[in-house]
């Protein structure tokens, strides 16, 4: 099941990527070519709900809300927008995890996403999320 999801997401990623690159090529060919700064989006992330899962390894399922505070629709931006999760464990360890945002988000609205983070043998205590842009 997990595998199919993975492939699904890869297909999606490919589709998005190729669209993006086509659009970009079109722009390159335009006669009125001039440099513009990549569009900046103001995104915010908030952890909504955390569910602990115990199977072969410990993991958590984090539901998080991503808000688009900009006036424009968040759609295939030139820079990569990611959510960085910092999970603190009961052992005092900090485990990091990141997830790139592929979804489109309307201006001044938000979506709720879900992410499973593997914690190996460590026990969950708290999680923080923030946006980082590449």
């Amino acid at each position: 099941m997990k595998r199919i999801l993975l492939i699904g997401s890869i297909v999606l990623e490919l589709a998005l990527n190729s669209c993006g690159s086509l659009a970009y090529q079109g722009y390159e060919m335009s006669s009125s070519h001039h440099e513009t700064a990549p569009k900046e989006f103001e995104l915010e992330v908030k952890v909504v709900y955390v569910q602990e899962l115990r199977k072969e390894t410990n993991s958590i399922k984090v539901d998080y809300e991503v808000m688009n505070r900009s006036e424009d629709i968040f759609l295939s931006p030139q820079r990569k927008y990611n959510v960085f999760f910092k999970v603190k464990t009961k052992e005092g360890r900090e485990i990091g995890h990141y997830k790139r945002i592929y979804r489109k988000i309307a201006p001044n609205s938000s979506i709720v996403l879900s992410e499973t983070i593997n914690l190996s043998v460590y026990e969950y205590e708290s999680v923080e999320a923030k946006i980082f842009v590449e």
């Binding site: 595998r3 492939i7 890869i10 297909v11 490919l14 960085f84 910092k86 990091g96 990141y98 980082f132």
Partner: protein, 648 residues
């Protein structure tokens, strides 16, 4: 002619047999107490070594004492290795950090001078003057001993002249003028000036180092030091059986085998006291008035006196000496009186009284850590000096950071290297299938390495800055994803056990095909490399390819030497390739111009000696003997220890 030879031989034999009648001296090592001149109230000591640049010059020294400097460099770098403290191995002091010590030893090397002089030699009966040109390196070191407040307790300059070259022949004949001798020696020096000047730099060693160790031990340390006990033995003497005395001396040889320790005094008493009684008994058998027998009596008394001195009972040694003085034999052997007297003077000065107290045999020997040696004025930019003066918590954090970076780099580089090798193996890949035909053992190794690399996802990021945390997470995830695809690709030729595995394989195949279709491999790899470089930049004081390959060296060492990792028998080709990579990495890290040694202060080298020795030994190993002779060398902390010096 033959007759003459025989005569000479007989004469020689006669001389030898005559000498054989006299007592023969033998020396046996033992350890005697050294009573120091300086006594401190506390036992915490520190060493500070000044590394300021010094002048190194070359000068002509004329017979009339004139000195003419003809070459001068102000960039001399003379220092002392931090393992001085292990050589000193003080018993009564504990080596500590400089700010915690109550007594400080400050050592400053003196400027060195190459001195060229001409000595007049007289040989044979002729009044002809001959000269010998000499090139000597005059080096020195200043010792200052202060208390915690910096008050000077003692000061001394030690010097040494080391003869490097001498010339006494020119064009097959003797040199007859001072001028010529000086000229020739100077010419020799100038020819090799670069070599000589370079040789004057570096750590103090040889006789000067030896003098320094001896001087400091004598000056400050209450300890036992190696001394010689002189005993006398006899060969045959007409009418007397001396074999018993000879055997008693032979048996004493074991005295030098007794190692200093808690029971040293008892052990040497057990050896020497019975001998003293035995020699005393033997004396009664000889007539001290007899010209021949007095030699035996003298020898036995000298033995007894020496033995008492060795036991530290110098009063008794002197009593016996009074008996020796009365004998009409070898009156010039004053050392029998001098040694006990000197020791008594030192002892009295130390205890402040004539009655000695018993001393504790065991102190701080074997506990001295060279990392405590403080260096000042060392070359700017060198890492790892005075590391013990950094707070323990900082060192711990640096080590944790180094551990984390080492893990990430180690897995990254090892997978990269395996993948590179994979390409080599698959040169004859099957084009029809579209996937590389790969070696089954190689696939097994890669599968395992990929699985093991997953640990980097769970590394403790708490020792990193916020920025570093994000980059490290990103690298970990991207790295695993990146090699996961390749792992699947090379695993496609594996036999499936059941339908489920077969279906998984089909999915894997789809994934691999999709990935290849997307064609982003190069970009992904570039992005991964960029992030690794970025993380290394943030975390390391010196960031370059060489230093970043240190974790790979350890990973390769682990793979090659661990019994459950890569095996030579299973696939010699792969093993050889990995070993070759190990050797290449070793060379770039420690041998070539790129060596990380250039960034380290020599005291850091000292600190890392043990770690680096392991790497060296595997580097020198024969590849087919690694499994037998170099088993399980991996140490999870080794990279962290080394890398921590380079970590911010």
């Amino acid at each position: 002619m033959n007759k003459n030879c025989t005569l000479y031989l007989l004469l020689l034999l006669g001389i030898f047999s005559a000498v054989a009648q006299n007592p023969k001296q033998r020396s046996i090592d033992y350890y005697a107490w050294n009573y120091p001149i300086i006594q401190a109230t506390s036992n915490k000591i520190a060493f500070s070594i000044d590394e300021k640049p010094l002048t190194i010059s070359a000068a002509l020294i004329h017979g009339n004492g004139d000195k003419l400097v003809f070459l001068k460099s102000t960039e001399g770098k003379i220092t002392l290795s931090s393992n001085l403290v292990t050589f000193l191995d003080l018993w009564s002091y504990q080596t500590t950090r400089i700010d915690e010590a109550d007594i400080k030893v400050i050592l400053t090397p003196e400027p060195s001078v190459f001195e060229i002089s001409a000595d007049k030699e007289k040989k044979g009966g002729k009044e002809e003057e001959r000269y010998k040109g000499q090139l000597k390196l005059h080096s020195g070191i200043k010792i200052e001993i202060t208390d915690a407040q910096g008050r000077l307790l003692h000061e001394k300059k030690l010097e040494d002249y080391n003869t490097l070259h001498s010339i006494n022949v020119f064009e097959n004949s003797a040199i007859t003028s001072e001028k010529k001798a000086l000229e020739l020696t100077k010419a020799h020096f100038m020819e090799n000036a670069e070599k000589y000047m370079a040789g004057a730099n570096g750590s103090v060693s040889g006789p000067l180092h030896y003098k320094l160790v001896e001087y400091l031990q004598d000056l400050i340390d209450l300890r036992r030091k190696k001394k010689s006990l002189y005993v006398y033995t006899f060969k045959k003497k007409k009418g007397f059986d001396l074999s018993g005395i000879q055997a008693s001396i032979e048996a004493l040889k074991s005295l030098s085998d007794v190692a200093p320790g808690r029971n040293y005094q008892k052990e040497i008493e057990a050896l020497l006291l019975p001998k003293i009684d035995f020699w005393r008994e033997e004396i009664s058998k000889y007539d001290s008035q007899d010209k021949k027998q007095v030699k035996v009596v003298w020898g036995l008394l000298a033995n007894i006196s020496g033995a008492y001195h060795a036991l530290g009972e110098d009063e008794k040694a002197l009593e016996v000496y009074q008996e020796i003085e009365k004998l009409d034999y070898r009156g010039s052997y004053k050392y029998l009186e001098q040694l006990p007297e000197e020791q008594m003077v030192k002892r009295k000065a130390f205890f402040g009284t004539d009655t000695p107290k018993s001393l504790d045999e065991v102190g701080f020997q074997g506990t001295h850590n060279p990392s405590y040696v403080h260096y000042k004025n060392f070359q700017v930019g060198l890492l790892g000096a005075n590391r013990m003066e950094v707070a323990q918590s900082t060192l711990e954090t640096r080590k944790k950071r180094a551990y984390l970076l080492g893990k990430i780099l180690g897995h990254y580089q090892y997978l990269e290297e395996l993948k590179r090798l994979g390409r080599k193996f698959s040169e004859r890949g099957n084009a029809d299938v579209g996937f590389e035909e790969t070696d089954a053992y190689y696939v097994e190794v890669f599968n395992r390495a990929a699985k093991e690399s997953e640990e980097i996802e769970f590394l403790d990021l708490s020792v990193l800055d916020e920025d570093e945390k994000i980059i490290a997470s990103k690298i970990s995830q991207d790295l695993i994803d990146f090699y996961n695809i390749y792992d699947k690709e090379i695993s496609l030729n594996k036999e499936s056990q059941d339908d489920w595995e077969e279906m998984q394989k089909i999915l894997d195949k789809l994934l691999v095909v999709l990935h290849q279709w997307q064609g982003g491999e190069k970009d992904d790899k570039r992005a991964l490399y960029k992030n690794i470089d970025l993380l290394a930049d943030k975390m390391l004081l010196i960031n370059n390819e060489t230093i970043r390959s240190l974790p790979l060296l350890e990973t390769l060492l682990e793979e090659l030497s661990s019994e459950d990792k890569v095996s030579y028998g299973a696939n010699p080709k792969l093993f050889k390739q990995l070993f070759k990579k190990y050797q290449k990495t070793y060379v770039s890290l420690f041998v070539a111009d790129t060596s990380i040694g250039q960034y380290l202060h020599h005291s850091a080298h000292q600190f890392l000696k043990k770690e680096l020795k392991v790497y060296y030994e595997l580097y020198r190993a024969d590849e087919d003997e690694i499994g037998a002779k170099h088993k399980n060398l991996h140490d999870d902390q080794r990279v962290a220890n080394i890398l921590s010096i380079f970590v911010k």
